[in-house]
Amino acid sequence: MQKQLAKMKQSLFDQGYLDEQFIQLEELQDDANPNFVEEVVTLYYRDSVRLVQNIEQALEKNPLDFAKLDSYMHQFKGSSSSFGAKKVKTECTQFRDHCRAGNADGCKRTFQELKKEYATLKKKLEVYFQFARQAGPVEKACRPK
């Protein structure tokens, strides 16, 4: 089972959903916090809902407040990159570029893409974590307690 899990993870990486930061977080896991990464991701998805809503509302305004959108997106980007959400992060960067260019359409389009990636990643990670729980604690270098 561990093998399958490893494969899953590898594929997520290969497809560019996750990056190195995810590994960093996994390395933080120990006996005391065996599901740390899952915990973080859950926290992320819970907290970012509000942010996504804010952005959506802001995108409905006319004219767009690019500064504000940029600020929201900065936050979103920071959050997403903190656990390695690579694709989401890329979309964030693109969104910000559009903001700086004052490209309203670009922003809206990119945001749709972003939401898609955001949702896709969520599903994939849910599966992954479920698997991880079933697979049991992985042998990892534990820090001395």
């Binding site: 977080l25 933080l28 120990d30 916090n33 973080v40 970012s48 936050q75 959050s79 656990f83 001395p144």
Partner: protein, 626 residues
């Protein structure tokens, strides 16, 4: 440092090390980190990472909370990590605050890696700038910033002190915040900081006197020095004031351009802050210094802490002191108090004053107005007191009914030092309560002559006042003394030590207008003050008004000294401080009319108070056990 686990912030992962494990060699284990980030995901990750580094982590998601935590627990943290973009306060602003008030190393972080943002971090004084997402490796080495800062401070201090007397250096070192723990003291073995210092600073520290002095790492911006600095800046014009020119104008041997530059930066921030000072605060202090004090008071809380911790005066306090000096007209500071007491002193005063408030009330109510002089009053203090009195007195008077106290209860505002000054117990049995609390903004009564402890209470409810109450009655002196002692012993510690420094500075700077102090105090958060006052209050010298209490004053002095000492518990033993305190007292008490003189001075901007006091550095901090 708290090697033990902090219940609130520790998680199971931190269980790995226990207090017993804490040992010098374990540095940087146990490094106390405060991390601030509004993003919960990032915050959680950082916390975990830091815990894994075996650091002691406290997290908060709002800058205001962070500041409060820092202020409440001055020596409780070694380093701060903060996000740049936060909803309630800009990260750079927080950085400024911390730098000024606590002078802790601050690391900024952000997903933004644009050059200008990073540059902003640099100019605001951040020790480092991390790009998010933050990796473990980056966090592992943050301890270097703590060490580096300490090292710099020592170097500067030593440098600066080289010009001064060795004593001062020692004194200052002693004044170092308790958390720094004596290098020489083996009792601090457990303190990793100490060990860290030892390890890293061994070379440097060897030179310094281990036994008595704590190294004061950085340049101590004494009141005089600050005054010089301000003079130079004003001469050049605040806009044109560049470090190089300022340095030239100041012409202080041993001062580097970098010292001036960083001080200038702080000063600028300080001024900016001043403009935002609340009006009533200004009311306390003299018109000129009101502005400066405003921010100072807030800083005071921090300053004291930071000073204590690092032995450096927070820039704010400097400003305060500066203001004081500016206002007061620079008189020659007593020779004795040569040790540059950084602005902290000012802050401390405030602290004292706040604390004293509660006491004063009691005392006053007792029937006599007592001017409780706190701590290490130096000539400056008296002056300041005077000034303070002016502002604070009013409030006091209102509250206090006693009017027989000749001493001004100028405690009114932030003169923690003033308290001390007025303790001319020897001569006059006046009890001048120079509560730092007096500085409370609440004090609005200008009637200075009466020590209005009651007014004090407004500002702070420090237990100290109780001791004063005793004073109010001549016979109460003895009681007061004991009370003071009690208070002192009860552990007012709170790092008042820096107060002493302040006082010394004050005395030195007699020039400072009392109002300066007032302002300081007012701005000081009462909560801080209260905390501080707790410790400070003990330093208040209560001098019986009066006439017959000469004898009493004697013991009182000692008691006050004791209290002061305890307050100043620089490290642990306050008593040693008494040494200089005694000196202080004697000088102070010599004048019967000191208080009135002070009052007058305040009004006039204290010109000669110092002379009266004749402190010539009696406050040397060297006695202070740091």
């Amino acid at each position: 440092m708290n090697l033990g686990m902090k219940p609130s912030s520790f998680t199971t992962s931190s269980n790995s090390w226990k207090s017993t494990d804490v040992v010098l060699d374990q540095f940087p284990v146990g490094l106390r980190v405060l991390v601030v980030d509004d993003d919960p995901t990032c915050l959680r990750i950082l916390e975990k990472m830091l815990r894994n580094c075996l650091y002691e982590v406290t997290k908060c998601n709002r800058a205001e909370i962070a500041l409060r935590l820092l202020r409440d627990n001055r020596n409780g943290y070694d380093v701060v990590i903060s996000d740049v973009h936060m909803p309630d306060m800009d990260g750079f602003k927080l950085l400024e605050h911390i730098g000024l008030e606590m002078d802790l190393p601050v690391i900024m972080m952000s997903a933004d890696d644009g050059k200008d943002v990073v540059m902003k971090g640099v100019t605001h004084g951040a020790c480092d700038y991390l790009i998010k997402p933050v990796r473990m490796e980056a966090l592992k080495n943050i301890w270097q910033h703590v060490v580096r800062k300490k090292k710099h401070e020592w170097k500067d201090k030593e440098y600066q002190q080289s010009g001064g007397s060795v004593e001062e250096g020692e004194r200052q070192q002693q004044k170092q915040p308790s958390e720094d723990v004596d290098y020489s003291s083996s009792a601090n073995e457990g303190n990793w900081k100490n060990s860290k210092k030892r390890k890293d600073e061994e070379d440097e520290s060897e030179d310094r006197d281990d036994t008595s002095s704590l190294k004061k790492p950085r340049v101590v911006w004494s009141v005089e020095l600050h005054q010089q600095f301000v003079t130079a800046v004003n001469q050049l014009g605040i806009d044109k004031a560049v470090p190089k020119k300022i340095l030239e104008l100041m012409n202080v041997p041993g001062l580097t351009r970098e010292n001036v530059a960083s001080h200038l930066q702080k000063y600028r921030l300080y001024l900016r802050r001043l403009s935002g000072v609340s009006p009533h605060q200004n009311g306390f202090m003299g018109p000129t210094d009101a502005a400066t004090f405003g921010p100072i008071s807030s800083i005071n809380g921090f300053d004291l802490q930071s000073l204590a911790a690092s032995g450096q005066l927070p820039p704010q306090s400097l400003a305060t002191i500066q203001a004081a000096t500016l206002g007061g007209g620079r008189g020659a500071t007593t020779s004795k108090s040569s040790s540059p007491i950084p602005p902290l002193v000012v802050d401390q005063r405030n602290i004292f004053s706040f604390e004293n408030h509660p006491r004063q009330q009691n005392i006053i109510n007792g029937g006599k107005q007592v001017n409780l002089l706190h701590g290490i009053p130096t000539n400056m203090d008296s002056k300041q007191l005077v000034n303070l009195h002016q502002s604070a007195a009013q409030s006091f008077t209102n509250n206090l009914s006693q009017s027989n106290n000749s001493l001004l209860a100028h405690m009114v505002q932030p003169h923690p030092r003033t308290h001390i000054l007025n303790n001319e117990i020897n001569g006059t049995h006046h009890v001048s309560v120079v509560h730092g609390t007096a500085y409370n903004n609440s004090i609005s009564n200008p009637s200075t002559t009466t020590v209005d402890f009651s007014s004090r209470s407004q500002s702070t409810e420090l237990p100290v006042n109780n001791s004063f109450a005793l004073v109010s009655s001549n016979s109460g002196m003895s009681n007061l003394t004991s009370k003071l002692q009690e208070e002192v012993n009860s552990g007012t510690r709170g790092g008042f030590v820096p107060n002493y420094d302040v006082f010394n500075d004050l005395s030195q700077n007699q020039n400072r207008g009392a109002h300066d102090w007032g302002g300081l105090q007012s701005s000081v958060g009462s909560s801080n003050i209260q905390q501080r006052l707790g410790g400070v209050s003990s330093s208040v010298l209560v001098r019986p008004n009066g006439f017959s209490s000469n004898q009493k004053s004697g013991p009182l002095n000692s008691s006050s000294l004791t209290t002061d000492n305890s307050l100043s518990r620089i490290k642990t033993e306050k008593l040693p401080d008494m040494g200089f305190q005694n000196g202080l007292y004697h000088e102070q008490f010599g004048q019967e009319d000191l208080m009135s003189a002070l009052l007058k001075q305040q009004q006039e901007g204290m010109g000669s108070v110092e002379n009266e006091f004749g402190f010539d550095g009696g406050y040397h901090l060297d006695n202070l056990p740091v």
